[in-house]
């Protein structure tokens, strides 16, 4: 059960992976309060718990589906803690989502007795849950979707992108992701490497105010022709070449509880440039470059040096490819089946 189900985004892909992991043995019904029309689901209020059910509750923003958490049911309840973005990281024109995250954050301690088990995807999320009073917590990293890894890349995009040297950002274009910071970094690196380009792949429908700020920045830095904004790309055939031919993945996100695009980039051997914020250093685990957000000139120097040093870049690429198997769908399925075992153990009465 999730608040929003959209095809192609991290949550939509994750639900598909859960379905694949449990499909042979269990029937999976997806419940959501809203979603895109490509995905079929039942409304959350259709859920009637029985003792045979496992409610896999995806906890992020507040939604109508919180109604089923008000009281303990006969079912086994797993909280899949996606994390709650701090409300202060939303722009002033995103008041509704800001209200929903504030409420989810406020209500988090209330449900510690409602869930039998909690699933987190990073140490950072585990700390947040422990502070809120939760105890039975299991960590399972998220995975790179098989659909992306196995997709056949679009030949036209692959042909064009393979000729470019570019850095990549993938994710929603919102304040939380600090896309402005990533563009500022790119503009500074470009002063040292004029052939460098940047692609920003992600949904731009939120916060028109922020989109305007991005447009203004591109004009001010005279890099409109050097930065490509694709909007949301849910088709893996289109997304794959962007990852495959990127030189670096850049994310300055102010808050993340996991950040799937970072491990997707890792799967393609693309090192990440990021900052010391929330869980990002933990996820990249020495396969990228950690820079200081407050010193963009210094960061640009480090990035330009890395791009010029093919040996060091090759070393990071190898480390990415070595680490990526930790985040495969098969590995995630194995961890989820362990959770399933834990469920039966808890249900039959732990010691």
């Amino acid at each position: 059960m999730t608040a929003t189900l959209a095809a192609g985004d991290a949550i939509g892909n994750y639900v598909e992976m859960i379905r694949t992991a449990f499909a042979p043995r269990h029937e999976l019904v997806v419940l959501a309060d809203r979603g895109t029309r490509e995905r079929s689901f039942l409304p959350s209020y259709a859920y009637v718990p029985t003792a045979d059910d496992v409610l896999w509750f995806h906890y992020s923003i507040y939604s109508e589906n919180f109604a089923c958490l008000r009281q303990r049911g006969p079912d086994f309840r797993i909280m899949d803690y996606h994390g709650i973005c701090p409300p202060e990281l939303f722009n002033r024109d995103e008041s509704e989502i800001k209200r929903l995250t504030a409420r989810a954050k406020r209500e988090l301690p209330r449900y510690r007795d409602v869930f039998d088990l909690c699933l987190v995807h990073s140490d950072y999320s585990e700390r947040v849950l422990r502070q809120a009073g939760y105890e039975r917590i299991v960590k399972t990293p998220l995975a790179i979707g098989r659909s992306l890894a196995e997709a056949e890349e679009h030949p036209f995009l692959a042909g064009g992108l393979s000729q470019l040297e570019y850095v990549l950002f993938v994710g929603r274009v919102v304040v939380q992701k600090d896309v402005l910071g990533a563009i500022e970094l790119f503009a500074r690196v470009r002063e040292k490497r004029p052939q460098l380009k940047m692609w920003i792949v992600g949904d731009r429908s939120a916060s028109p105010d922020y989109q305007r700020q991005i447009g203004d920045l591109l004009v001010r830095r005279k890099i409109e022709r050097d930065v490509g904004l694709t909007g949301r790309l849910s088709d893996p055939r289109l997304l794959k070449p962007f990852f495959k031919y990127a030189r670096l993945f850049v994310t300055f996100s102010r808050w993340e509880s996991f950040c799937v695009p970072v491990v997707e980039a890792m799967g393609f051997g693309v090192p990440t440039v990021t900052t010391e914020r929330t869980c990002l250093p933990e996820i990249i685990g020495g396969t990228g470059l950690i820079v200081d957000r407050s010193d963009l000139d210094g960061a640009a120097g480090q990035v330009a040096t890395l791009l010029a040093d093919s040996e060091r870049w090759g070393d990071l690429r190898r480390r990415c490819l070595d680490r990526a198997p930790l985040f495969t769908e098969a590995e995630m399925a194995r961890r989820l089946l362990e959770v399933q075992g834990l469920h039966f153990h808890l249900k039959s009465g732990p010691d």
Binding site: R99, S205, R225, G228, T230, G231
Partner: protein, 186 residues
Amino acid sequence: MNADETMDQLRLFVSLRALSEGNQDLEALRTVEAELARLERDLAAYGEPGECVEPARGGPVESVEPTRGESVEPFHLAQEDLDNLFLLKMRQSLEAEGKIHRLAPLRWLYGFFRRFVLNTQRRYNESATFLVRRLYSTTLLTRYYQLRALALERRMKEIEAQLARLESQANRPGACPASSPSESRP
């Protein structure tokens, strides 16, 4: 092709994909608009004969007959109008903030009002915005493919003229057999 031209081509490709799939990205609209303007300039310089421009649905059919050097009728929304389409979303932020939440009865009344009045208005605004943007992007795409068809037709005429020239050269008494024309691309 240099890196800037490659970027432009890729940008146009993803923009056309986005609009065809119904993603209403402002950047995609602007990119396709800019490409339309470029095609219009090229065709006007060539002096394309009368072309019919049919608006997306319902409207009258315009017939444009430019002569060499005249520009074809420009086709775009003013930037201000385009921005307004995207600002509609901002105007939906009708959430009251501050003191109203402190008093329980007012909070309840406000919750009731929000659920049954503001949400209806928001949904109506969302649907209206979606439809207007969809109509506009469909019109842009229709126009783009019309102009592309005209540009290809022009190219075909150039190739035909070149072939005719080569044939006439080959038929001239004493001329050597012509080699195949060295076209860069169709």
